[in-house]
Symmetry: C2
Subunit: 430 residues, 2 copies
């Protein structure tokens, strides 16, 4: 037997940089376009991308029940649909094949030339076809900050917030992978003290520091997923930037929630990190008081200690880290979110994406949005080039990074990086 | 040249009942399972279902640029993606083939045995794979009624309502075709004057009388659809029941909008009626005052005169019509809704579904939900068996019908019929 996939002592024969997000203990899943213009499902070790379709054709997954074309797909949906048992068998096999003690592929140059790619030879794609996208609102600090600003600091949390993981539906069609630029949205806003709305570019474009999980098809319509089973149906986790236009949001969102303020774009990191890879970094979430109702009650370590960082990079390439937060600040766990989402019988499909909501920590330098970091424009952030930001400016790039660290071991998510372009030109004709 | 597809004088050689919703002037599109267990795209004339896949294979669409398998699909998405010009060519050809003066298919018994089905030989399917579902809130009467009940009768309409078509995102995964029963949802609610929420079956399950339109893939991400062009990207319209649990909604919906109160089920009529078929029934919508912003300004007849009816059928089969409304009461037109939806660059895909929101008319017998018809439970409706309803009870079936009538001509939508079953049994284990 080889060393277990998560063992920190495990080493690989793939050259791997120090402090990589993608040691052999990670083995995330993604979809990429190869130098031969073929789309395939793959994984990554260090700075090497690995074509799982080619590995499968060459017999490296023999003995695992997989259809022939399971990795020769535009999306991970069918593979995810195969279920947790299959994901584990595949991840463990990859871990074996690339173990430093395994010579089979290591010594086969012909196979290596087909299976392995340098990162500059591939182009990452959106890894799943997202049927439905749900966004939660599960950071107590974020909800408190927003409630303080827009409602009442004395009663910042609304009455339902501590009883259920508040959520709303978002737009799947505008979820993009890291690297795709977006345009500044236009729309209706109500200027301060104005009586009538005006039309034009949003002046308050913001990021929201989130993570998101991807589900498998877990239930039939009408059947809830019990909270104790919920994690079995979570394939993995990504970094997620839920772009927001605060001025559009303010005018439109009462009473039915955010709409155009959110649905112009959300961006995700392209490598999905499995819950199995994150296992060493499990931790308790915040104490929940009052105790949740039984259908949301789950003891144990169901949060994850994941460091998160946000950089703003100017058009000139000057980078400034503006926030450092952590996924463990989330009040509601992913298991609770999924149990709540399905308690009414709502059907969850393979490839659905569920965002955490903005992840703000307890201190002002750990807030997860410009709205909070610059406190509604009253406390501008100074960047490393001396310029100030209250929101995101044209040609700024927003970069999120996320990684777990423990006893010298590191498992990371890479990054999600998105540039905000000026307003789309044809829009002026509207 | 044959008689134009919309000409009221046009007749067909297919036996057609009087007062059918599906005269030869309709030619809707749907997807059905045939007696041979094959899924195909089809249309309907009178009580005859027509297999368009078979028609295409037998050459009846020769000369129209269509791929060989365009109708041999589980959904209409690819056909819709071919665009308005193709939809028109296909509809006009069907109109020709079934014209009473056209003997080609009429006299070919071999072909007829392959192409034509009685309704009891087929099973209607969900006609599109719905990528994203958006629900508008575009009936002034409905918004006013709800605002009066839950907020302030003096200021029932919120400040944004007359300036933009308010909307929010819904859940695609639980949209079902007519005939599929649903379960009463369970969830959290806050009983009157209670301090803590309770968990259990929703007591206030309601229908929402809506129509919905289906789009084609209209724009690139970042590019708005001008209001004057919007109707070109609308494939057709269906009846739509956006099931709602009012007690769950009340507790969860502030501040981000309805979630579990809505996403347990929405049901649609299975035949999509094209805007071309509805052309004779175009009319002006309500006067819009204040005038909308330029990106929402559109003169002309962009509403449709469509009679709508709601029946509640008891477990014993006793049917009562509880509401009569009309699509023309909608304040915001479909063109305005689509232009607003995309003004920020939001991408619209083939098969997306956009609900109108509950369509209430000006009089109490034309309200589009039990919430309004029975005014929050204060004015119970008496059914024809003498029983009372304030909301929908277990084993009730809710049936919507819709049809246009003018100078003896009728174009209809058939029905969307959904039975509410008691709470799903396994739920008691949660």
């Amino acid at each position: 037997m080889s060393i277990p996939a998560n063992d920190p002592a495990k080493k690989t024969w793939i050259p791997t940089p120090d402090q990589t997000d993608f040691p052999i203990q990670n083995i995330p899943f993604g979809v990429f376009l190869t130098r031969d213009d073929i789309i395939t499902i793959g994984t990554r070790i260090g700075d090497t991308a690995i074509d799982l379709g080619a590995m499968h054709q060459l017999g490296y997954f023999d003995g695992i029940p997989l259809t022939d074309d399971i990795f020769l797909q535009d999306t991970l949906n069918d593979f995810i649909s195969d279920g947790q048992k299959t994901w584990r068998l595949v991840r463990n096999r990859i871990s074996e094949v690339f173990d430093i003690g395994n010579d089979t592929l290591k010594n086969n140059d012909a196979h290596k030339s087909i299976i392995l790619f340098a990162l500059n030879e591939i182009e990452m794609q959106l890894p799943v076809q997202i049927g439905d996208y749900t966004d939660f609102y599960s950071s107590r600090e974020h909800a408190t900050n927003v409630g303080s600003m827009f409602r009442d600091p004395e009663n910042a949390l609304l009455p339902n917030w501590l009883h259920l993981p508040v959520a709303y539906h978002g737009r799947s069609s505008t979820i993009i992978p890291s690297g795709v630029p977006i345009y500044r949205p236009i729309g209706q806003t109500l200027p301060k003290e104005a009586e009538k709305p005006v039309f034009g570019p949003s002046r308050l474009v913001d990021f929201e520091l989130e993570m998101a999980f991807i589900t498998t098809d877990a239930n039939k319509m009408g059947e809830p997923i019990p909270v104790a089973k919920a994690e079995e149906y979570i394939f993995g986790v990504v970094l997620f930037n839920d772009w927001s236009a605060r001025d559009i949001q303010k005018w439109e969102y009462v009473p039915l929630g955010p709409f155009l303020a959110k649905n112009f774009a959300s961006s995700m990191s392209p490598w999905i990190v499995t819950l199995d890879a994150l296992k060493p970094f499990r931790c308790k979430g915040p104490k929940q008081e009052p105790a949740p109702l039984p259908y949301l009650t789950l003891d144990g370590n169901h949060s994850f200690d994941i460091d998160l960082e946000v950089d703003i990079v100017t058009a000139e390439g000057i980078s400034t880290t503006v926030s450092k937060s952590n996924f463990k600040y989330m009040y509601w766990s992913m298991a609770q979110q999924l149990a709540h989402h399905t308690v009414n019988g709502c059907k969850v499909n393979s490839g659905d994406l569920m965002g955490s909501g903005t992840i703000s920590g307890p201190t002002p330098d750990s807030y997860g949005s410009m709205l909070e970091l610059a406190w509604q424009g009253t406390k501008p952030i100074t960047l490393n080039d001396g310029s100030k930001r209250t929101f995101i400016e044209d040609n700024d790039t927003v970069v999120f990074r996320g990684f777990c660290k423990k006893s010298g071991q590191r498992i990371g998510f890479g990054e999600v990086s998105t540039k905000l372009l000026p307003v789309f030109k044809a829009k002026t004709k509207i």
